[in-house]
């Protein structure tokens, strides 16, 4: 019973998903009308519960799942994401498909999977949650089943994702073998504690395979090939979701597996992640420069953003600063990227296009929307006073602080420099869209009307993006408290 109390958010979300499905079963109309609000209610309750039990700490389910501050952070984060997605999807889903309630049920399930991933401390539980996340995501990407692009994106996502799962599972099985049959992360760390550092090729291979698997799931370069098609084809609210949700989950798992289970092999995985971070930032930004479709552009942009965040993991070997930086960056990224997608949805609901050229003269047709988008672009590019700047500031700062240790960690200086130069490159494409929005004449002058649900969520995301840039301390404290569980100080 005690254990069940600790799992409030998970239970609420599961129950709500079932309820939404049941309501839809009873009456199709009730499902259409009530599903979004029921979902929202469940999410708000979940957030309240997660906040109330923020400091709870206990292992449950036979040490396969842990409730701690770190999980609390990801519970709140994923529930906030889902809530914003509900606002973003309402008109979009109603306009484009007749299967409304199922969409929200799926959204709740995928949210649950993110929470489960963040709390898993056992390889089997991690793998199962990853599959849960993947399968629900595939379905959501292909939700517009009459749309060829949606189906294409879904299939591609599915094929790549399945291969990735297999690779990851193989890596995990090697870890299981090398640790003499342990699946629990803490016990794996204990089993490796006496192994001579950096000599075990088996473990290095296991680490590589596991990271490759993670890399596919969270779309890090060079394992990102599925993401532009999936982003472009998916219903835009789903694109918004997969640009944020799986990444949030991925960083939770990455932090747990690398920092909890494999601290002994830090020099191996930091080098690998160093390279992946550098490639993701550079490739994501350079390819984004050439995109003409805003959803594809944001796909590459989010690859680059993931690269910046990865710096925090690489820089995290000695201190908790890197992980704290990632969490702050994640908060910033959630509000910024979701806000941006909501703006894209609002505009595409009116112009029925995602081509960047069709954003010409947007400021004349939807000035508030254009202003919000500029703020989001500034935040993604890391220009103050926005949330994204604070995220980059902390992540780059963690890298430079860790580099002080000297020796191989001085490579981190270069990673910070690569990141900084990349954020200049990113201005090239973010502000190319701004150029269309503000400098080009519009094709037509009719004002774009934005529905209240979109307006509310957009205003919230904009306000948070600015607030976090101007008053960052509460967010930093929040992140600081959340990483305590990982860095037991």
């Amino acid at each position: 019973m005690d254990q069940l109390l600790l799992l409030g958010p998970e239970i609420i979300v599961t129950a709500a998903a079932m309820l939404v499905l049941t309501v839809d079963l009873v009456s199709d109309r009730a499902g259409r009308t009530w599903a979004p609000w029921l979902t929202l209610l469940a999410l708000v309750l979940g957030i309240a519960d997660a906040a109330w039990y923020f400091y709870a700490r206990q292992n449950v389910f036979g040490n396969t799942y842990t409730v701690d501050e770190f999980l609390s952070f990801f519970r709140i984060a994923s529930l906030v994401i889902a809530a914003l997605i509900v606002f973003a999807s309402k008109e979009y889903v109603e306009q484009r498909t007749k299967y409304v309630a199922e969409f929200y049920a799926l959204l709740l399930f995928v949210t649950l999977s993110i929470i489960l991933l963040a709390g898993s401390i056992d390889l089997i539980m991690i793998f199962l949650s990853f599959e849960f996340l993947s399968i629900t995501s595939y379905i959501m990407v292909g939700y517009l089943r009459d749309d060829v692009k949606s189906s294409e994106g879904s299939i591609k996502y599915f094929l790549y994702g399945s291969v990735a799962s297999a690779i990851m599972l193989y890596g995990m099985s090697l870890l299981y073998g090398a640790s003499n049959g342990e699946t629990n992360l803490v016990r794996i760390a204990a089993a490796f504690a006496n192994a001579p550092a950096g000599t075990s090729n088996l473990i290095v291979i296991a680490i590589i395979l596991t990271i490759v698997g993670f890399g596919f799931k969270i779309a890090l370069a060079p394992f990102h090939q599925w993401s532009p098609e999936a982003y472009e084809g998916a219903p835009t609210p789903v694109t918004a979701f997969i640009s944020v949700g799986p990444k949030v989950a991925g960083f939770a798992v990455l932090a747990r597996v690398m920092i909890t289970a494999l601290p002994h092999f830090a020099s191996d995985w930091t080098n690998l992640l160093w390279a992946i971070a550098a490639i993701s930032m550079t490739l994501g930004n350079l390819v984004a420069l050439r995109q003409t479709n805003i959803k594809r552009l944001l796909a590459y942009s989010s690859i680059a953003q993931t690269g910046y965040m990865l710096i925090g993991i690489v820089a995290n070997v000695a201190t908790g600063e890197g992980l704290r930086g990632i969490l702050v960056y994640l908060i910033a990224y959630i509000f910024t990227n979701l806000g941006l997608f909501i703006a894209v949805i609002a505009y595409s609901n009116a112009i029925h296009s995602d081509e960047i050229a069709d954003y010409a003269g947007m400021v004349r047709r939807a000035p508030a929307l254009a202003l919000a988008m500029v703020i989001f672009f500034l935040s993604l590019a890391g220009i103050p006073p926005t949330a994204g700047f604070i995220g980059k500031f902390l992540v780059f700062g963690a890298a430079l602080d860790a580099a002080k240790a000297g020796g191989p960690s001085q490579l981190l200086i270069w990673l910070a420099i690569i990141g900084a130069v990349n954020s200049v490159v990113s201005v090239g494409y973010y502000f190319n869209i701004v150029r269309y929005m503000f400098f080009m004449p519009p094709k037509e002058m009719t004002p774009v009307r934005v529905t209240p649900t979109l307006n509310v969520s957009l205003a919230f995301a904009t306000a948070m993006t600015l607030l976090m840039g101007i008053v960052p301390q509460p967010f930093i404290t929040f992140a600081q408290e959340s990483v305590k569980a990982i860095f037991k100080s």
């Binding site: 103050p384 430079l400 200049v424 960052p472 301390q473």
Partner: protein, 526 residues
């Protein structure tokens, strides 16, 4: 005299009372009047700041409040004798720019005035920040409005979109390198405070850290000044920007870079500057002086010409800064005085360049409104047609070339007086720049535009290509001549002209203010 929150009011009134309400206003004439009215408030307050300032080397009107305690970041403001003239310059030029714009900007008025006031907040914030993090935030805030000002209201034939992005990217490259340097310094010293940093940095001995941090920050400031070879964004940005944008760009934004050298690089890195970087600054400054002057002479577009003359004039400032920086630790007699004189001259030159070049851009803008061309060879003999304009242009141009009894002379004289005592060879080459400057200003601006006979046919032809609206506004139908300056155009130029003469004749009040700060920075460097 301490006035609580004075600096906060000066910095944020343009945004809080200006930008935000303007976003919700509908009437264009109301927006224009409101913007000018709001911009007058910081001007009045900065006059108050000036007269409430005790001319010594201390920081005054300081405000400290914790902002991000986890990282030891504070909201720390304060001004010394370097900042006060810059704050005044910024508020003055903003009022003039907005006043002038209210007559010529009739397209997307709301965005224009909202952005302009946001820009003012960014610039003022840089001059008042005593926390490196805060400094950086304000530094970046100024970037975005200027990008839009160039891109939206730039002249279509000057590739405004390209120039705006170029300006943005160039400045941002410097900024991000500075950001890394700021972080690097923080993790070495544990502080972002600009008053503590010069003291704490003494404990840092690793030359790699010091040099990397120095060059990171140097990049940001050198691009902004701009020093040769980082200047290539400047002619494009200046040419494309609307008149008031050019005024602010030349008048204030370039000063941010030079101000950064004085406020941050000089006190924090005396060792690096003394060992080799000061010499590099001085050499780059002399190259900027000579190169800027020569390239300026080769221009046929008046705006480009003045833009390159900015490279030249900011070169003098940097020469003064370089000279003051090279001689760290040099105790030979007279050197300390020479350094102080050079630094005083550099700061005064920043102020003078602001009013003089701001004035030049304003005047060229007025000419462009009439003729819709800026090619020097399109004009000729204008002296007789537009005597008021000619008079003000003569005054400003002579101030720019450094005629004694006008502002430019005083500061250039002080810089060279200081520099000759420290780096005579470089100073001697730098003096060449003054000669070339005099040559191109006299030849290209005064002679080609104003002197000679007025070729009536040329102007009839010019008028022929203009829209009826422009002709009605700026040309005399009966004679087919350009109209002389309108009263509001005169009003926007007069304050600048007054300062050119005042500082030229009696620079003591402003030098008194600057000197205390200059001496204390020199002492801090050792």
């Amino acid at each position: 005299m301490y006035i609580p929150y004075l600096l906060t009011y000066i910095i944020f009134i343009p945004t809080i009372l200006g930008t935000l309400p303007i976003l919700f206003m509908r009437s264009e004439s109301l927006i224009k009047r409101w913007a000018i009215l709001v911009s007058l408030v910081p001007l009045v307050l900065s006059v108050l700041l000036w007269f409430g300032f005790t001319p010594n080397g201390t920081m005054q009107q300081e405000e400290v409040a914790p902002w991000i305690p986890t990282l030891n970041i504070n909201y720390h403001l304060g001004v010394d004798g370097v900042s006060v003239p810059m704050v005044f310059l910024t508020t003055l030029l903003t009022v003039i720019a907005l006043f002038y714009s209210s007559y010529v900007i009739n397209n997307r008025v709301k965005e224009y005035f909202a952005l302009f006031l946001l820009l003012e907040t960014g610039m003022l914030g840089v001059f008042c920040s005593l926390d490196f993090f805060l400094f950086y935030i304000f530094w970046e805030i100024g970037l975005v409005p200027m990008y839009f000002l160039i891109g939206i209201w730039g002249h279509a034939e000057d590739r405004p979109q390209y120039s705006a992005l170029k300006f943005f990217i160039y400045t941002l490259i410097g900024s991000v390198l500075m950001l890394l340097a700021i972080l690097g310094l923080y993790f070495q010293t544990g502080t972002f405070d600009l008053l503590l940093l010069p003291l704490k940095i003494k404990a840092v001995t690793d030359p790699l850290v010091l040099n990397l941090a120095f060059w990171g920050i140097f990049a940001a400031f050198a691009i902004k000044v701009p020093m040769w070879p980082f200047h290539t964004w400047l002619p494009d940005a200046h040419t494309a920007a609307p008149t008031a944008g050019s005024v602010i760009l030349a008048g204030v934004l370039l000063k941010l870079g030079a101000y950064g050298f004085i406020r941050i690089l000089m006190p924090v890195f005396p060792g690096v500057l003394a060992s080799y970087a000061g010499m590099i600054i001085a050499v780059l400054a002399v190259i900027s002086i000579v190169y800027g002057a020569f390239v300026s002479m080769a221009q046929t577009d008046l705006k480009r010409l003045i833009a390159y003359s900015s490279v030249n004039h900011m070169g003098y400032t940097m020469l003064g800064i370089g000279a003051a920086a090279i001689a760290v630790g040099n105790t030979a007699p007279g050197i300390a005085d020479a350094r102080a004189i050079a630094l005083n001259g550099a700061v005064l030159q920043m102020f003078n360049h602001g009013i003089i070049t701001g004035g030049l851009f304003l005047l060229v803008g007025m000419l462009y409104e009439r003729a819709h061309t800026r090619r020097v060879d399109a004009f000729g003999g204008l002296a007789a047609a537009v005597p008021r304009y000619y008079g003000l242009m003569m005054l400003t141009a002579f101030a720019s070339l450094g005629l004694p009894a006008l502002a430019g002379f005083v500061s250039e004289f002080m810089i060279f007086r200081g520099a000759f005592a420290i780096i005579p060879g470089l100073a001697a080459i730098g003096v060449l720049g003054i000669v070339i400057t005099a040559a191109f200003i006299l030849w290209k601006i005064i002679q080609m535009v104003f002197l000679g006979p007025l070729d009536q046919e040329k102007y009839s032809e010019m008028e022929h290509h203009l829209t009826p609206q422009v002709v009605a506004e700026y040309w005399e139908r009966a004679t087919g001549r350009m109209k002389d300056m309108t009263p509001w155009e005169v009003v926007s130029m007069v304050p600048l002209a007054v300062f050119m003469i005042l500082i030229g004749l009696y620079p003591k009040p402003i030098i008194d203010i600057i000197n205390g700060a200059a001496v204390s920075i020199i002492n801090l460097m050792g």
